[in-house]
Symmetry: C2
Subunit: 410 residues, 2 copies
């Protein structure tokens, strides 16, 4: 799959890059380390999970009965207070295993214990973009340090400025966020308009929505984006459109926590920049980009009484190139010579991918993790036919279950 | 997993039946054909797809732009007019391959060319319950013949009385349906209240909803049920509750065709009999019971502003025991001595199934086809570690794609 169509041909990689994509040519004078007969399977750009909290795999199925506010305060925050760097290391590895099995090659991750998380990412070979999560409880004091250190840590790792959300960040700290963005001339990302209550609260505090507030404070002067965007007004969408900001959709988490359904079709009508994320495993509970893309496509249908409210190819591009560009991975967005070799192979011989009436629709409407045959990041195969090359899954399961013993009771 | 809880232990099968389930015991005096170390994986009843049109795999991704009415008349009916028994045979086999890979061990299927379909089912070893689909365009003349013939055809195959829908069946034919039900003292199943327009049309024609009409005409005097049930009124639910009728949910199809969202929580509040189905691949487009169960659990959350609107274990039971009882497979509903050995193994060592904070929630909220390690029907393993024992998938893919050449253009 190139940027806009599916072609018959072949693809070569050289180190971390794609060195050829096109029709089959004579390669008798070339030497490859390995040649793979794709047997009619599809190579496509890796899925990019543009909003997640990877290490929150610890909270999967742990507290499924709360709406967002109670879920955070009764189930999550007390357990997060007990998390250690070691725990974040292992639960992140569990998330990477799930990402790789689901064809996800990069994540835009908001969490803490970032040093240990970065170590897990580099050991795994996973492309990990950190997002700042500063708020009134902490994070502003270390934001610049992380920005400088993690952007110099390893080619697989990078860091974007970000704060948790308007409702956890006072006006002074929001202004500080804006100052830091201006100092580095850098984009800023945040949870935004996830729940109705959040937007109403912001309007009570400031008389405007979170997007209008951030815009006024200059937080988005150098770009960035928002996660969730469920309760955006038309004015919010206009601001995001005007500034070229990214709207990241998290359909499963918003359904599960009863937050709402994002009217994805309204963002597409305005030709906005969109991306797709899973949010964390505590509120999803899977980390499946396929399930997200499916729901981002079909959930608008009921509201609009239109079975074609959202074009599945637009969502597939949001889940791949969109996510990459959202998190600053412009060289890992599409399959093209010179781009990063972040590639997945879809097994077209799975029954759910047949017949091949329309391959893009098969993927968006029918695929799940079971169709992922191979996942490559930075030119290295990390997952192939159900096996991991850099993760010892048995060890990860053993360690994470051991760590759960300290987290189950609060 | 027994009827109501998950136990540590073992399970034996003897021919087509479960011969033991319980704690591990001394088996030194016993001889088994094969012993499988489940390694902590979960054995549970096979998923039961309680409403589908299996052979409609031909229409996957073929016409994704229509609402129900246009979809039927512009995309489906013209192609179905060109379908042959051979096509139904191969496209059903493709569906069986998808069912087995997704842990589904029985389907309640409404389609035609039933002889060829039954042949495919028995060859595969798949448990197939046919549902009558009579309407004004045909089917009433052969309903009794199929009822008698297919219920005597093979232990894997059975047939339930059914008609397509009120909106395709005139009053005389609805009365005929009732007469046949009374003659055989048998339950009747039908598409019901799938779209708002269908219910409004029925009210214009008869002054009452489809459920009230069927009830008045005596169609449900010996039980049965309805597929979709999206637009049920409280009165409709009361009728279904009073008569012990089955409501079968089809969340993906209803989203995709913009038909609506079934308020599943209202059926559970009344403690009604519920089951889960995928509908056909043309309108879903997958045949994944996991995706259905997930949506049947979370879709009620937004409407009710309650993150725990629907208990996932109730939905898991609807997707297994509920579906079995709905389609008359009372001896294939749960894992119990003497019950049919229709069993699946969930691979708990997949990252999406970890940590094991709550196994039932992991399955309903996080599982997809990739967690199915083994599928057994009637005591025979038909799918294990990605391989089929009775289906030549390469042949099925080759034949179905060949057949598509005659169906793509209309």
């Amino acid at each position: 799959m190139t940027d806009d169509k599916i072609i018959d041909g072949e693809l070569w990689t050289d180190k971390d890059r794609i060195s050829y994509i096109g029709p089959s040519v004579d390669v008798s004078d070339k030497k490859f380390d390995r040649e793979i007969d794709c047997k009619g399977n599809l190579l496509m750009p890796g899925l990019k999970n543009a909003h997640t909290h990877s290490a929150m795999t610890f909270s999967r199925s742990l507290a499924d009965e709360y709406c967002l506010n109670d879920w955070l305060h009764k189930a999550i925050f007390p357990r997060e207070a007990k998390l250690t760097g070691e725990a974040v290391y292992w639960f992140s590895k569990l998330a990477y295993a799930e990402y790789l099995a689901g064809g996800t090659t990069a994540c835009f991750d908001m969490y803490f214990f970032r040093e240990e998380n970065a170590k897990a990412a580099v050991e795994t070979g996973f492309r990990h973009v950190f997002c700042g999560a500063a708020n009134d409880f902490g994070g502003f004091e270390s934001l610049e340090r992380y920005y400088n250190e993690l952007n110099a840590y390893d080619p697989l790792v990078s860091f974007k400025l970000g704060f948790h959300a308007e409702y956890t960040t006072c006006e002074d700290n929001l202004k500080l966020m804006s100052e830091i963005a201006h100092k580095y001339e850098a984009p800023v990302y945040t949870h935004i308009s996830e729940t109705y209550e959040e937007v109403e609260g912001c309007k009570e505090r400031y008389g405007v929505t979170p997007a209008v507030l951030c815009d006024k404070l200059g937080i988005f002067d150098f770009g960035g984006g928002g996660f969730h965007c469920v309760w955006f007004t038309d004015e919010d969408r206009d601001i995001f459109k005007k500034r070229g900001l990214w709207s990241v959709f998290n359909a499963c988490s918003n359904l599960k926590l009863a937050s709402g359904i994002t009217p994805v079709y309204k963002f597409i009508e305005k030709d906005m920049k969109i991306a797709v994320g899973t949010d964390g495993a505590g509120s999803n509970n899977a980390l499946s980009m396929f399930r997200e893309m499916y729901l981002d496509t079909v959930l608008s249908n009921v509201e609009t009484h239109n079975a074609a409210a959202v074009d599945p190819f637009i969502i597939l591009k949001a889940g791949t190139a969109g996510g990459a560009r959202c998190m600053g991975l412009d060289d890992a967005d599409v399959l093209e010579e010179g781009k990063k070799a972040d590639i997945i192979m879809i097994d077209m011989n799975k029954p759910s991918m047949q017949p091949e009436n329309n391959i893009v629709r098969n993927i968006v409407y029918s695929a799940d993790n079971s169709v992922v045959k191979m996942t490559m990041i930075d030119g290295k195969i990390l997952y192939e036919d159900g096996k991991y090359t850099t993760i010892d899954l048995d060890e990860v399961i053993r360690e994470t279950n051991k760590l759960m013993q300290g987290l189950s009771d609060i």
